[in-house]
C-alpha cells in the first residue's frame, strides 16, 4: 500500500490547500441537502397522527443529536492520533471540532427541550438520555475551557487530547441510555441499521437532513482547522504566501502595501 498521500495530507500546507479546494463543495452540498430536508420536513411531510406538527422538530433534533455524538468520537480519535504520532494536523482537527460539537450538542438539547414540552409536559425531566447529553455538553465545554487556559498551543492540544479520550466513556452512555434505563426518551429506531419504523415520506427528508448536517460539520471543521493551522504556523513561509495571496485577491491585486 502506498502511504505517501497520507503523509502529504498530514503536512499543514498541503492539507490547507486540499481543504481550500474541498470545502466549497462540501458547503454547497450541505446547503442543498439541508434546504431539501427542511422543505421536505417542514412543508411536504404529512403531520404525525399522534404528535401533529410537533414531530417536525425531528428534522433538526435527530441530526443535531447524532452529530453531537459523532463529533465527540472524532475529537477523541484525532486527539489519540495527535498524542501517538505527535501530528500537528490532528491537534488542529481536534481543537476545531470541539466548538462545532458543542454547538450541535446545545442545539440537540434545545430542540429536545422544545419538543419535550408538548410531548412530556415539561421542558426538562431528569432522564438518563437527557442528563447524559447535558454531560456531553459539559465535556465539550471542559475541552474548550482547558484549551483556553493554556498558553502554549502544543501543550494545550496534548492536554485536551488526554481529556477528550477519558471523556469518551460518556458516549456509549448517551447512546445506550435508552436501553440501559427505562427512559421517557424513545429508543433507537431511525439511527438503527435495518428497517426503520418510520414512513417513507417522513424518512426521506430526515436522511437528507442527517447527511446534510454531517457535511455541514465537515465544512465547519475544515474551515476551523484551516484557521488553526494559519494561527499555529504564522511566521512560516507558506502562511505568509497564503495571506499575501488572500490580500491580493481582496484588493483586486491593485496595490501592494
Amino acid at each position: 500500500m502506498n502511504w505517501t498521500w497520507f503523509h502529504r495530507l498530514g503536512s499543514p500546507p498541503s492539507f490547507y490547500r486540499f481543504a481550500e479546494r474541498l470545502a466549497p463543495w462540501l458547503g454547497v452540498a450541505a446547503l442543498l441537502l439541508l434546504a431539501y430536508a427542511w422543505y421536505g420536513g417542514l412543508v411536504l411531510a404529512p403531520a404525525d397522527y399522534q404528535q401533529k406538527d410537533a414531530f417536525r422538530v425531528i428534522y433538526v433534533h435527530v441530526p443535531a443529536a447524532a452529530v453531537s455524538l459523532s463529533l465527540y468520537v472524532l475529537m477523541a480519535v484525532a486527539g489519540a492520533v495527535a498524542l501517538i504520532w505527535r501530528m500537528k494536523l490532528a491537534e488542529c482537527v481536534m481543537i476545531a471540532s470541539a466548538p462545532v460539537g458543542a454547538s450541535f450538542t446545545a442545539l440537540a438539547l434545545l430542540t429536545g427541550m422544545l419538543w419535550g414540552k408538548p410531548m412530556w409536559g415539561a421542558y426538562w425531566v431528569w432522564d438518563a438520555r437527557l442528563t447524559s447529553e447535558l454531560v456531553l455538553l459539559f465535556l465539550y465545554l471542559g475541552v474548550i475551557g482547558l484549551h483556553a487556559a493554556f498558553e502554549d498551543a502544543r501543550a494545550a492540544a496534548r492536554a485536551c487530547a488526554l481529556l477528550a479520550i477519558v471523556g469518551l466513556v460518556n458516549v456509549p452512555i448517551v447512546h445506550f441510555s435508552v436501553e440501559w434505563w427505562n427512559s421517557l426518551h424513545q429508543g433507537s429506531t431511525i439511527l438503527k441499521f435495518g428497517k426503520p419504523a418510520i414512513s417513507a415520506d417522513m424518512a426521506r427528508p430526515l436522511y437528507a437532513g442527517l447527511l446534510g448536517t454531517y457535511l455541514l460539520c465537515a465544512y465547519a471543521i475544515l474551515r476551523r482547522t484551516q484557521n488553526e493551522l494559519l494561527l499555529r504556523e504564522r511566521g512560516t513561509r507558506w502562511v505568509r504566501e497564503q495571506l499575501a495571496a488572500a490580500a491580493g485577491n481582496r484588493d483586486g491585486g491593485a496595490h501592494v502595501s
Partner: protein, 193 residues
C-alpha cells in the same frame, strides 16, 4: 567522549526562539560557567537540557540514559517537612542510600536544630544548603545548577567551591549559571550567551 553534547539545540519560550542552533559540549572534569544579561535565556537553556522544557535539536548524554542532578530557582523542598525528611524522600525516590544524609547535612554545616525544623522555617541560605546537600546523596556525573550561589553567605560559598571541586576531581562535570564570580579556587570555562 563528552558527558553531555547538545548540537544543534534551539531553546524556545512561547513562540520565540531564545537560542537558535546553539552548540554545547560538557566534558568530564569540566566546570562551565554560563553568563549573560538578565533574560538572555540561561535558565531556559538549563531547563531544556534537564528535559523540563521541550526544545528542538539533539541532546546526547553519555551514557545515553544518564540523569543529571538538577537545582533550579526552586529548591525542591517541601515546606512542611524538615531537611532530613525531604532528603529521605529524595533518597527513596531515587533509590539512594539514606545513610549519606546525615554526613551531607553535616558537610553543608546546617545547624543541627535546623535539620529537624520544617523547611518553611529555615532562612533562605539554610534552604539553599539543604538543596545542595542533595547533590551529595547520589553520584551523578553531570550537575545542572541555576544560580546555586544565591543566598549563600561567605562560608557557604567556600563550601560550594569545595564540593564542586571534589565532584570535578572525580570526573564529574558542572554546568552552572551565576551573576557573581565563582568562589576562589574554582576554575571555570566561561560561556557567554
Amino acid at each position: 567522549m563528552p558527558l553531555l553534547t547538545a548540537d544543534p539545540l534551539t531553546v524556545t519560550r512561547g513562540d520565540r526562539a531564545l537560542l537558535r542552533d546553539f552548540a554545547l559540549r560538557l566534558d568530564a572534569g569540566e566546570l562551565v560557567h554560563l553568563r549573560g544579561a538578565n533574560g538572555v535565556g540561561k535558565t531556559s537553556l538549563l531547563e531544556t537540557l534537564a528535559g523540563l522544557r521541550r526544545g528542538a535539536g539533539t541532546i546526547v548524554w553519555q551514557p545515553a540514559d544518564a540523569q543529571p542532578h538538577w537545582l533550579g530557582h526552586r529548591n525542591g523542598l517541601n515546606p512542611q517537612l524538615s531537611p532530613l525528611e525531604n532528603l529521605r524522600f529524595w533518597c527513596g525516590i531515587n533509590g539512594a542510600a539514606t545513610a549519606a544524609i546525615a554526613p551531607a547535612l553535616e558537610r553543608l554545616q546546617l545547624p543541627p536544630r535546623a535539620r529537624l525544623r520544617a523547611c518553611r522555617q529555615l532562612s533562605a541560605g539554610q534552604k539553599r544548603r539543604t538543596a545542595l546537600a542533595r547533590l551529595l546523596l547520589q553520584r551523578r556525573p553531570v550537575w545542572l545548577l541555576d544560580e546555586p550561589l544565591d543566598g549563600l553567605d561567605a562560608g557557604g560559598l567556600a563550601l560550594f567551591a569545595q564540593l564542586a571541586g571534589a565532584h570535578l576531581a572525580q570526573g564529574g562535570a558542572i554546568l552552572m549559571t551565576s551573576h557573581q564570580a565563582l568562589p576562589a579556587p574554582l576554575q571555570a570555562r566561561e560561556l557567554v550567551l
